[in-house]
């Protein structure tokens, strides 16, 4: 019983720790259909991110990377990443992300969004 209590105290004390980062929300949204070309992709994660060792790439339907290679962390929200996009034509785009949270847990994933005119 004492072990369980000590364990729970340690759990509570470890609140400073980060965990595996999951995608919390994105804009354009996961699986969404939008009417106009977005100027950027924003992804908010459940943990703060190390941008230097994280990546977001956006590909068109032919597999060509279309983003502007300028991944950056939001100034006020360190769980939010931005990457800029050029003017996109109609079509389906795939966002592929691989991120490292501040305690170096690695997670990755992908989703699509569709631009219609």
């Amino acid at each position: 019983m004492k072990c369980i209590v000590i364990f729970l105290i340690l759990v509570a004390a470890s609140a400073r720790l980060e965990a595996h980062a999951f995608l919390k929300d994105a804009n354009p949204g996961v699986g969404s259909t939008i009417q106009t070309s977005p100027s950027e992709v924003r992804i908010r994660f459940t943990e703060n991110i190390e941008p230097a060792v994280s990546s977001i790439q956006v590909f068109d339907a032919s597999g060509k990377e279309v983003d502007k290679h300028d991944l950056h962390l939001d100034r006020s929200d360190h769980a939010l990443l931005h990457i800029s996009l050029p003017q996109l034509g109609a079509g389906t785009y795939k966002v592929v992300w691989r991120i490292v949270s501040v305690d170096t847990h690695v997670t990755n994933g992908n989703f699509t969004f569709r631009v219609v005119r």
């Binding site: 364990f7 999951f22 699986g31 990755n108």
Partner: protein
């Protein structure tokens, strides 16, 4: 003993809050997060603690026996691909006829090696060897006096590589196990003496090799939200993984061939940052298994997220 226990945890705490290196992940394969399942073994190698797993069901023994178990299991990575496991359970038996009994079951030890992990196809394959240490538990709760070895293979596969046309099937995943439990004793004999007649009666209980097989089919709302379609689900729905587990055993020899027993366990797991909580109904598949529905619930901690600098990282070989 109490001092040693306290010392152990203090050492863990010191390591945790002073170390600078980092540790990596539990049940991930690519974008797929596999939760720890309650009734069948996981395919992944990780640092995890199930404390406690509580189950209760009425079995057909002795005119109907309420069997309640509380167990603890811990898995510790030695290298990034190899982990050792230790577990034990406390069982309380309350038969309809006869006295109640309770006690600890046999100690269970194991090792698991991850053979394959493919992120693109969300696939994991592991092999393992477990042993139930005979004589380490209480005979009153049915703990065997002999040991049982159980080699097995474990797998996990996410359906994330399905085509876009069936994208709402992508959150499905399956995990499973296939193994054989091999007792070190083919049979045990017990002698009873009739008090009135003085006659001796010898009972022979046979212990067959048993095929242990099972799988879990799960649908991850986490995966649905983050990889397929954001349905704007709010907590706690956005972290739910409904699943159904099939936990089955088929004796292979010694007169009990093919007499499969097992349960089908529908339920749900909620997975948070540092722990998950799961609950399942336990439904016998046939009369041989039982006639009553039970329940199993588990609190499961992700040690690699809780203690990434100490308990939650492999002892050797770095991280990956």
């Amino acid at each position: 003993m109490k001092f040693l226990s306290l010392f152990f945890w203090l050492v863990c705490a010191v390591c945790e809050f002073s170390a600078t290196d980092r540790a990596y992940g539990h049940g991930f394969a690519g974008a797929r997060f596999f939760p720890a399942t309650l009734s069948t073994d996981d395919p992944f190698v990780s640092d995890e603690l199930s404390l406690p797993t509580v189950s209760t069901i009425r079995t057909p023994d002795d005119g109907g026996t309420r069997e309640t178990g509380i167990s603890v299991d811990i898995s510790k990575r030695i290298t990034p691909d190899f982990a050792i496991e230790i577990g034990d359970s406390f069982t309380a038996l309350n038969p309809h006829d006869g006295p109640a009994a309770n006690g600890f079951g046999n100690l269970e030890l194991g090792g698991k090696y991850q053979l394959l992990k493919n992120g693109e196809h969300e696939a994991i394959v592991s092999i393992g060897l477990g042993v139930e240490v005979g004589g380490s538990g209480g005979r009153s709760v049915g703990a065997d006096s002999f040991s049982t070895w159980a080699p097995g293979i474990f797998f996990g596969k996410g359906f994330g590589d399905l085509p876009v046309a069936v994208r709402f099937l992508k959150p499905f995943a399956i995990t499973g196990q296939l193994g054989v439990a091999i007792p070190t004793s083919a049979s045990t004999r017990s002698v009873t003496i009739d008090v009135q007649t003085g006659e001796r009666d010898i009972e022979v209980e046979r212990h067959p090799d048993v095929l242990e097989w099972g799988f879990a089919l799960e649908y991850s709302l986490i995966y649905l939200q983050s990889q397929v379609q954001d349905l704007h689900l709010h907590a706690p729905l956005d972290r739910l993984i409904p699943l159904v587990e099939f936990a089955l055993e088929t004796p292979l020899n010694r007169g009990e061939e093919g007499q499969t027993t097992g349960t089908i366990n529908p339920g749900v797991i909620w997975a948070g940052k540092y722990f998950q909580v799961g609950v399942e109904a336990v439904i016998p598949i046939n009369e041989r298994t039982g006639n009553n529905v039970g329940v199993i619930a588990q609190l499961h901690f992700f040690m690699d997220d809780l203690f990434p600098n100490s308990l939650g990282r492999p002892l050797f070989g770095g991280n990956k």
